[in-house]
């Protein structure tokens, strides 16, 4: 498969670009909800529009109302989300949760997928336990209880958790904290007794929950996939989520870069456009290289994932780390090259910096993934 968008993908990209620029623009979405101190952190009306466009069902099979497309296509939408900093549960619901649900029984799929595809419901995922991403270690416990399970423990960094109608929770049904086996994924409904959210606003104005499960009783049909066999589902979900987060990060990087390059062409200092200064030119050109490379490896990872390649896991970490490096550079250079006004809340460049930071942290930062690249490469 050639490493660029085919015709259908190019058409989707054009559609997504136009849609997001019109409906998901910073002033209409991010600033709008932020300045109203919205407790969801995103707009439900826009989520409905996502559904109308078919975006919500990109990774969902046709049986459940989806488009049955792949991660390249999901990445196309995410790149535009990133570029416009559009607050949306797309990554959590339509990539992470959708990937997990794919591994569920027909019952589970039928129960959750159509509503999500229709834009009626949003879902979240609860993985981290502590401030850093360490999915190798899961301590949350789900003990057998009658025909179902009793869930106890804490989860952190559950993005849009308090707004989600259902949360995919990775919990331990056997073994000890660091065991590879013994995990099970559960679809925990919003109204479950004993689940409480401490919802906090993050630097990028998105919302995330610290969730406490205090003996939450779950039916057996809350299980996604096999009991004790959740590691594979979790890994599939993480790989998909990382590739998706990388794609969104590429959008953030490109948005910040484009805004900065435009600024270089307008702002004058010492009687010259600052874009005429060779030192800034070289830094901008270096940044361009890094962002293009990050974009290439992200599409590559998505293609490998869609193709079922064994390399997908490694390349998802490569992409996540590379995008973190490139996008981090883009927002730092962006703020610096904007100078003083780049520091003001009034200008958008700072919003890119904030979103980049939250996205970097989500599902593992560059250090986590560089380490994982080393481990997967056997050193």
């Amino acid at each position: 498969m050639p490493l660029y968008h085919d015709e259908d993908q190019a058409m989707l990209a054009e559609t997504a670009q136009q849609f997001m620029a019109e409906q998901g623009a910073i002033k209409d979405q991010l600033r709008h909800w932020r300045d109203r101190n919205c407790k969801d952190g995103f707009g439900h009306a826009l989520w409905k529009q996502f559904a109308e466009m078919g975006f919500t069902g990109i990774l969902v099979g046709e049986d459940h109302g989806g488009l049955d497309m792949g991660h390249v296509e999901a990445g196309i939408v995410l790149e535009e989300i990133g570029r416009n900093l559009t607050p949306s549960p797309f990554l959590s619901s339509s990539v992470l949760a959708a990937t997990a649900l794919k591994h569920g029984s027909d019952d589970v799929k039928g129960r959750w997928l159509p509503d999500m595809v229709a834009g009626e419901k949003v879902y979240a995922v609860a993985i981290d336990e502590g401030p850093k991403h360490r999915p190798e270690r899961i301590a949350c416990k789900a003990e057998k209880s009658g025909n179902g399970f009793r869930l106890s423990g804490k989860k952190d960094f559950v993005v849009y958790g308090a707004s989600a109608e259902m949360i995919v929770v990775a919990a331990r049904t056997s073994g000890s904290d660091s065991d590879e086996d013994g995990l099970t994924l559960f679809a925990v409904p919003q109204d479950a007794n004993g689940m409480s959210h401490d919802s906090v606003r993050l630097v990028d104005s998105s919302m995330a929950s610290h969730i406490t499960f205090d003996g939450v009783e779950l039916d057996g049909d809350a299980v996604i996939g096999e009991v004790d066999g959740g590691r594979a589902v979790l890994n599939a979900m993480l790989t998909a989520g990382r590739v998706g987060a990388a794609a969104e990060g590429v959008g953030v990087a490109r948005g910040a870069m484009d805004m900065t390059v435009d600024y270089l062409k307008q702002r004058k200092q010492f009687g010259k456009l600052i874009g005429e200064f060779q030192a800034l030119q070289h830094r901008a050109a270096h940044l361009y290289s890094e962002v293009e490379i990050a974009r290439a490896v992200t599409i590559k990872a998505a293609q490998l994932l869609d193709g079922g390649s064994e390399q997908a896991e490694l390349m998802s970490s490569v992409a996540k780390a590379k995008v973190a490096k490139a996008a981090g550079l883009a927002v730092r250079e962006g703020v610096q090259m904007h100078g003083g006004i780049g520091m003001t809340d009034e200008y958008d460049i700072g919003l890119y910096m904030k979103r980049d930071r939250a996205l970097q942290e989500f599902l593992g930062d560059q250090y986590y993934h560089a380490n994982r690249v080393a481990e997967l490469s056997g050193y």
């Binding site: 100078g339 003083g340 003001t344 904030k354």
Partner: protein, 392 residues
Amino acid sequence: MSDPESFRSEVRDWLEANCPPEMRQPVRDEEDVYWGGRNASFKNDAQKAWFEACRDKGYTVPEWPKEYGGAGLTPAEGKILRQEMARIGARPPLSSFGIWMLGPALLHFGTEGQKQRFLNEIARGEIRWCQGYSEPGSGSDLVSMQTFGEDKGDHWIVNGQKIWTSYADEADWIFCLVRTDKENKYQGITFMLFDMANDGVSTKPIKLISGNSPFCETFMDDVKVPKSYGEDIPGYVGEINRGWDVAKYLLGHEREMISATGGGDRASSLGAVTSRQGELDPVLRAEMAMFDVDALSFTAMSEKFMDELKVNKGHPAQPNMLKYAGTELNKRRHELLMAAGGSRALEWESEETSGGKTARGWLRTKANSIEGGTSEVMLNVISKRILDLPGA
């Protein structure tokens, strides 16, 4: 100078007697800082006692001459005092742009009358000053400023706008660069001093990406600035139309100040601090180690710079290098603090993070390499004045 060891023990005794235990705690927030001024109030009795003891001893500005409110210490004595204060963790008794910026300019360019009045006011914390340099649209290019003072004989009528004036909304007076000759780019700027209570002065705070900030926009609308405040007390520093010389001198001084503190909490290892919060990922640990190498090295550079400064060694443009390296380092430090803090550090308003302290601190550092001369300007200056590169 007095015998260093006897001076040291004298200082120790004095600090022991005068610095209250509460004033030996690290500064936690803005409330812990005493800025002085007409409307100042003390947070508590300890802050008041410590300030007054220092004021009376001349220790708010220990190296300034006694007649201007200082203690007249030699540089070596000043260093001993700082060391001893650092040893017990004593807070600065008074923070002030008057001390850091206007004072040095007056000591260098001021008339005797100006020194008598303004330096004493600063040393005694009576007047709080702010700085009016940047304008919207001028940025690093200070000489392109537009704020204009029309000459009316014994006074000017000033119109224009300044930006990035720290604490303009709380300051009593401003030292302000104003164009007084439109023809002459460099030699047409005057370094004026005036009261913020004058008619026509208004301020508006600037909200930063890190949240609310001490920065303001300051508007001047037909503000009357007298050319004299009494005998030998001109309403400007240096000569009329030669304010650029004062500003340049002061910028250099500001860079020294920033460069001396650029590395942040420098002496300690960042990796040691952050690893206490939780185990560091191996690659992050390596980044911390590489950072610590750079940061501990920079601490030595700062020390070398300060030591050389005292004996007039070192290249005069060296502060530009320290400013550049120190601020870039501080930005890196806060990137790593965010990485070590993980998702908790992302929180913006939560109680657990004291209202997003880590994240706001991180964002705030991004201004370090912009304010007081951008990193790019610093590199230009190094190229030109130290490396003597052509056309720089």
